[in-house]
């Protein structure tokens, strides 16, 4: 199994290190050929506006969207989640529109409001998960098919819809690979 990490911009390297620590082969994805050769894909944190631009300018939006709709497991963190969302609240910004969630960018505030906290994740036994939220997007609504795996103050922060997993926080920065492990288990 080769797990791809979209490497247009952002924290792709940290995700790669976590997947490698789980024994996965990884590939940085910047081109259509690379996209077609991976079994799953992580869309990292970073700036969603930058990623959308680079994807569009390099004609990767549609191929990426079709691979996800064809069932390729995909995990979006922070900006990655924004990219996957059906709708971005109060912004005129493109997204892949594959996941039935509405998100609001920077809804937790500027960098001064970035924070760390702990919460339970359903399906992941043991200690609560330590989540790092950086200028994080908020999930403001979820569709019927979306399963909420973790919440913070009654707001979803980790959600799944079939082959798609998305988080407001950064599991790649917390030194705990359980959510990545969970994602790897979604890949057949």
């Amino acid at each position: 199994m080769i797990s791809g990490v979209l490497a247009m911009q952002g924290a792709f390297h940290k995700h790669k290190l976590v997947m490698e620590s789980l024994g996965c082969k990884t590939l940085e994805v910047r081109t259509i050929d690379e996209l077609l050769s991976v079994d799953c894909l992580i869309i990292p944190g970073g700036e969603s506006t930058v990623m959308v631009k680079l994807l569009s300018e390099n004609n990767m939006m549609d191929p990426l969207k079709s691979r996800i709709l064809d069932g390729m497991p995909v995990f979006g963190t922070c900006a990655g989640m924004i990219l996957m969302s059906r709708e971005i609240s109060r912004m005129n910004q493109d997204s892949l529109g594959v996941m039935d969630i509405m998100v609001e960018r920077n809804a937790y505030g500027r960098q001064l409001e970035s924070f760390e906290t702990e919460f339970e994740v359903s399906g992941i036994p043991g200690e609560p998960f330590h989540g790092i939220f950086i200028r994080a997007p908020k999930i403001v609504s979820t569709g019927r098919m979306v399963q909420v795996l973790a919440e913070l103050d009654s707001v979803p922060v980790l959600v799944r819809q079939g082959n798609m997993l998305a988080s407001s926080f950064h599991p790649e920065l917390s030194g705990d690979s359980r959510i990545h492990q969970f994602f790897a288990s979604m890949v057949k």
Binding site: M8, G10, L54, N106, Q111, L112, I134, R135
Partner: protein, 301 residues
Amino acid sequence: MTDKHWSDRQESTWKTKVGLAEMLKGGVIMDVVTPDHAKIAEDAGASAVMALERVPADIRVAGGVARMSDPDVIIKIQESVSIPVMAKCRIGHFVEAQILEALEVDFIDESEVLTPADDRFHVNKKNFKVPFVCGCRDLGEALRRIGEGAAMIRTKGEAGTGDIIEAVRHMRTLQDDMRRISSLPVEELMTAAKELGAPYELVLEVARTGKLPVPNFSAGGVATPADAALMMHLGAEAVFVGSGIFKSGDPAKRAKAIVQAVTFYKDPARLAEISRNLGEPMTGIGMAQLGDKDRLAGRGW
């Protein structure tokens, strides 16, 4: 002596500070002086903007004392974009830094481009909730700044020149220093720390990991997509572009090209395509023409 790295023992905000720096990797941070510039930068794919009153090339021309920007400029730029907004304070000027924190900028650059306020001491960056980026020319300087709390390092280069030679020199020096430290036996590291003028614990960490404990970006002299790609090859994890964009003939086009170049830096054919027809680059000042007193990189202690 604990087995944990220095960076694993920092207080909790450390992770969100360095985390934001992680998010900026593989991107381009652009100097902007107006909300219009900021919009152009964002539309071109900047991962963050640096709000300034003047770009470094104009600071050189204007002479005099270069200070923190008018808060009004910063606020207007914050209102005009959704990406992170950074701003600069003078070296050692912790009140300018406090003002920038009160403005809720996302990153503070304690920068040699502005006229230093203190000729011996930098800001104690650990006192702030906002993360700091600082310049360096070598490993010792980088580790002193990290020891003071910087969450990101950028090699200085020579701002406002459009000449890449200093950026290359500083990046190569930093990388060479790290390779050397990693190859030393433990008993030599205290003396190495003394020679570098760097905190011992950070020297130990670099010796074990072979890299800085915070992201390492490049600045000072990037004027073309090829310059940006060169710095990525040399070990930069992202690139700051100051005068290189808005002092060029077609800022929007050049900005977009530099963003692409940072993503596709390993693909020469793509770089050739990206570099076509960008209009005039900034005129620039060759380093050989620049007297010692006009060099900004020497500022910082």
